[in-house]
Amino acid sequence: MTATTTAVSDATGMESVDSFRLRAREWIPANLRRLADLPADEGAQRNVSSDESAWQRARALQRTLYEGGFAGICYPKEYGGLGLTSAHQRAFNEEVAGHEMPMRLNVPTFTICGPTILDMGSEEHKREHLAAAIRGDEVLVQFLSEPGSGSDLAGATTRAERDGDVFVLNGSKIWSSGAYAADYALCLARTDWDAPKHRGLTMFLMKVHQPGVHIERIKQVNGGDEFCQEFFDDVVVPASAVVGEVGGGWAVASRQLFHERNAVGGGSPYFSGARAEGRRGTETDALIDLVRRTGRADDPYARELIAEAHALGVIHGHLVDRVTAGMRTQKMPPTAGSLIRLFHGESATRQAEIALELAGPAAAMSAPDGPDTREVGVSFLFRQATQLGGGSTEMARNIISERILGMAREYAADRDVPFNQVRHGR
């Protein structure tokens, strides 16, 4: 069902932001449920739920958006999107606040994999996969990290060997979020072992569920099990699955990392849904509730901690605005997304620490008949995830110092060395 308000377009034929916003304002309440009305256990909004039904719900919501004309706002029209600007997306994000959205499709499908395919994929990849994702028919995933290589993504040892029209993959990938529920993956594999490490890689857009692929879910400290590890045993992938050039996989991965930094930091124009940063979010309210429950609302120290946590959230929003403007006007390099990523990691860590401090002993335990105060403790246990997922903050600091400030590159013992001569640890 489309909005009844008429779209108002400018001279280039593009609908104005205001017009788009008004249509969204009308369409949203008629088609999306309010978060406040959702059953508490549905949890579709929260990315921690790994329930299969949550994924089905996300696909259905995406289909609703697509049918309503609010899907793929910044994606080109020829690939199933609306071909609008980030200002339109921002307006939509503001209007949709408080409503149910397929949030789990943002990362990596729409903010990382989609833009990478847009930048580097073949025409066929774009027509087929972007359109399918925007319709809610396809979920994408990254097969990038490996158990043995950590931040050193170019050190991949998953092997892809050409065999006529196909490649045969063997090896293992890890930290692929939601792989079990995904359809296609961007998978980085080594096709040349005699070349130095960055030059021997190839990216494949491969089917996830197929013979030879075994997926295991990884349980995390906070109980989540979204992340997966994949094992490849003679997996056959057609040559048409190659994204970019054979041997040119690192160029594709670099675009993925660029988009990932933006996505993690909150600067991606492809992110659809309300953002938490820059407004008095649920986080601040939760902290205020916490100190009221523990009777510390009048304690100046507790009050300062709440203000500090709140300020970090507000400043995060300001930084996203600044970096986005800086990159748009090319006054900042494209790597500036690392600033947002680093701020996010550091501030989320500090906020988790503050919450623990405010909760005090309550964070160590929960009564079955009371609120789950232990949840604050569990979030604290898991807090480093915000400094690890989507590229570690260490890598962000390398990028900022080397690419933005122009300082010397860190010595890499594997640079310009044939990959089969590089030393590996465990």
Binding site: S145, S149, G150, S151, D152, G155, I174, W175, I218, K219, Q220, V221, N222, F227, R293, T294, G295, Y301, T349, L356, E357, A359, G360, P361, A362, A363, A364, M365, S366, A367, P368, D369, R374, G377, V378, F380, L381, F382, R383, Q384, A385, Q387, L388, G389, S392, T393, E394, R397, E410, Y411, A412, A413, D414, R415, V417, V422, R423, H424, G425, R426
Partner: protein, 375 residues
Amino acid sequence: MRFELTADQRLLQTATADYLEKSAPLGVIRALHDEGRTFDRDTWRRGAELGWTSLVVPEETGGGSVSGEGVVDATVIAEQFGRGCAPGPLAVVNVVAAALAEAAGADRHAGLLGRLLDGSMVAAWACCAPGRGWDPEAGAIEARPDGDGYVLDGTHDGVEHGGDADAFLVLAHTPEGLSQFVVERDADGVSVLPLESLDMVRGFARVDYAGVRVPATALVGAAGGAAAAVERQFQLAVVLQCAELVGVVERVLEFTRQWMFDRYSFGRPLASYQELKHRMADMTLWSESGQATMAAAARAVQERRADAGELVSVAKSYLGQRATDIIQDCVQLHGGLGVTWEHDIHIYLRRATVNRLMWGTPSAHRRRIADLLNV
């Protein structure tokens, strides 16, 4: 590493380490957790034979240290408990045993004390108001004189190993002032609610007292005269907790350092990156400082010095914060593995976090220090 242990203390340390490694490796702790259990009674009983329960109790009441310095001995055990995130009610049993042994008229409780010492019973110290940290005035429930006994009403929260306890040492106000009572788990009107804990195996409980009648002989020491004993028990609990934190941190730094030598990134071991090296240097410093201040606090508590309260709070304010700082940074150094259930580091992080929060947060201990300094 502790530098100046006596030969007997080193024996105690090695025996405990060996026994814990055999009886309660992390796999056993995971299994206990999966079964919803906190510790194994048999394991505990055999631990008691090694001295776990009796070090801070004088010989004349059935205990005995190995070095003549029972508090220091007990920290040697607690450190090993930390290294293994071991299960078992170490701190609370020692605290209650010391309280029973040191109180005037201790022979009234000789039966319970004996069974604590031989490991056949477990007791917990119930002293915190619901949702609140350490504050003995607020934590004491009401004990109303009634005939030749008392009637207890109220609730204690966060009772360490309360779910396992056969008896409680209960902090209460009588008309005479702060007092402590022994209350049996099975007494009429006592109900115990085990709470879901952040630690794998260290349980906490809520204890409700609804008109619980106890005889005057249930008193530990004199009615109204418990304040000094309570402070002493608190110091003991905190210093054992600090020693446990020292052990936790030491072990985590050991395996993280090894990981940094073994793990390569960009063709180099992590241990070759200056920024990571400097973080390890900082963490080593904090660990050493924590060991130093814990040892000083233990000695002060041992010697019942006037500054023991201050030193205990100095140690906890530092270690409570630094232990979690260190382990979180070690999680970071482990990368994604560090936040998985499969990797053991979260077991240590849980223990350190629970120890940071209980028996006074770092912030609460800083306030105690300010009070003691008469700011």
